[in-house]
Point group: C2
Chain length 137, copies 2
């Protein structure tokens, strides 16, 4: 086994698991990822599009669909009125928390065969690799 193949396989299995959890809440994978991204701090649609790796024009529809369900609302930046930042509602925050919790529980259950040391190593190395990839785009 080589590193690219292992990373590709891991990416794919995580995506399938995350999709499965998203569907419990009638969300797509992309919607769940957007909700969880929003949970931490305030970001503009432009920043979110760059983080999610898609075009900014896609943010409109995605935000519309989540707003229609009462999970987020748009807020115009008072210092630059061109900028709109979505903010999670209470329901949105609660849902993002549940997604993160369910995903965390699923990972914990499935990595039970790894030693505590291996889990720590994987956390460190996955974080490092993700950082290296994020730095070059």
């Amino acid at each position: 086994m080589n590193l690219p193949a292992a990373l590709c396989a891991l990416h794919h299995e995580v995506a399938v698991l995350y999709s499965t959890i998203a569907r419990r809440f009638d969300l797509t994978l992309q919607q769940a990822e957007l909700l969880v991204q929003l949970d931490t701090e305030s970001k503009s649609f432009g920043e979110l599009a760059r983080l999610l790796g898609c075009d900014k024009s896609n943010m409109t529809g995605m935000a519309d669909r989540l707003a229609r369900r009462g999970l987020l609302e748009r807020r115009t930046d008072p210092t630059d009125r061109r900028i709109t930042k979505p903010a999670l509602t209470d329901a949105g925050t609660e849902l993002a928390d549940r997604i993160r919790k369910d995903f965390g529980a699923a990972i914990a259950q499935r990595c039970a065969n790894l030693s505590s040391t291996d889990q720590d190593q994987l956390t460190r190395l996955a974080d490092s690799m993700a950082g290296a990839l994020a730095a070059e785009r």
Copy 2:
């Protein structure tokens, strides 16, 4: 940093990189993943759908689009004529090789800051984690 968050971040960065490489060849991420899956061994559409984590009904359109470009062709299984297995053409095999090669080069370049030991560890742990996830779905 915790393990679920690190895995999620890594999955997402790998997906963005893989999408970028797929687009060099006018492919979507899903088309590239299908091509690379096909490269190794013969699988039915049903098996492929399960591997890719999507419904079998999606395979028809995806195979059609790749077949239209001369990258694969359908072959009926002689032992059970209900089963259809897509097979890469020469052009499809060549393209799958280029995708795998480009992805491998990109990963090698971006993980240069990791020690050789860390790269080996990450390979082992990512493969183990992917296997654990794949085993439970």
